[in-house]
Symmetry: C2
Subunit: 227 residues, 2 copies
Amino acid sequence: MKGVTKLKYKKIPEATIRRLSRYSRCLEEMEEKGEKVVSSALLAKKCVVNAAQVRKDLAYFGEFGIRGVGYYVEDLLNNIKKILGSNKEWRMAVIGVGNLGSALLSYKDFLKQNYKIVAAFDIDPPRVIGRVSEKLGKPAEVLHINRVREVAKERKIDIGLITTPPSEAQGVANLLVEAGVRGILNFAPAQVTVPVGFVVKDVFFSTILDNLAYLLSTETGYFIDKK
Amino acid sequence: MKGVTKLKYKKIPEATIRRLSRYSRCLEEMEEKGEKVVSSALLAKKCVVNAAQVRKDLAYFGEFGIRGVGYYVEDLLNNIKKILGSNKEWRMAVIGVGNLGSALLSYKDFLKQNYKIVAAFDIDPPRVIGRVSEKLGKPAEVLHINRVREVAKERKIDIGLITTPPSEAQGVANLLVEAGVRGILNFAPAQVTVPVGFVVKDVFFSTILDNLAYLLSTETGYFIDKK
DNA sequence: GGATGTGAAGTCGTTCACAGCT
DNA sequence: AGCTGTGAACGACTTCACATCC
């Protein structure tokens, strides 16, 4: 036996999950506007995807619609949130209170309600604590990184945000794994690996910008005929 | 004629471009360590991808290697930077100096050297200017959004970062398009469309977190057998 | 009638395997 | 002998088209 062993669930494309998040956002808007029912065609149009794609994405998880009618907005939204796990509260910690780390801390309210930053760590808390406090307008608590394990348990941390320099990323990831923090959002541009059962998502600004630069550099691209 | 019309260049998978950025990062590390030559197998290992993938990705753009030998690190790095356009300087503007906008402004040095923020706009500069200055430690210049067109020309802005509330995103995108700013990095969780010749990349923290939440929620996933 | 759910077809990206150079 | 470059096989995701059900 080699490669990937399928267990119980069939593999869901990552793109499907990303779109689910997008549907979720559109459905929230519709709900606010008081719209009760939506067809795959309409939802697709709002999300700029194919209607069959919407139906296929949902079909991975069950039958949520009514033939001849469509989907009940509220019902579908709840189901999608349940699928994504975005109906739960997720507790996060920032590790590395440098530029990006303190940006995330100071401005944590640009995160959605159910994602909360509940701790911050650095290798040298005294050095950064003043800087952060100043921005938050009250004494900020930045803990020494060697307390990750203890505090992760105490505060039930689900997700660690790595905002250290790239050279430290793997070490911090190891610490988080040891502490039983299963989810990692890695902002440090370095490849990080974790054992099975743990998850890393990279957010590399440099990659995104390089991507944009590439698209802007290739002047002759494609013409999309309008439908 | 309908659908997508191919012009001159063949389509390059977006994933290829993302990997190119990754190769670039690894090659920079190697260069620093003074390594002269690298094989596709070694580069692949460092980047956690397949060796054939490395060769295929590069083959889209030319022949950069020497059979029986490998690739010259410096040479390959330069070529990749040229392909990506990441050897040029890219000038950026932040539009919307709220939480995220001022975070990007205050902490712009977490961006790579060749990506520079050279302007900031808001619909109400007086309201935000104090807040930003305080963080930067000097009077910050936040311009009124109705000056985008004029200033974009003046300062040769290539890329606009949309950090407004989602409801304003499309309007701001229109403004940028009108001003001839061809690249947009959209942080506001709302679908934005632009004419052919312009490019939008989304960076939605909520989507990334939803994705992580999903992966953490599906406790039984896959076991990857080690090779 | 009308919109969902879904097998089948199509498209796109990845991996294999080896011919071709150095 | 060794490693690149690449056609062909494979696999994965998307779109089509229609049977199915409200």
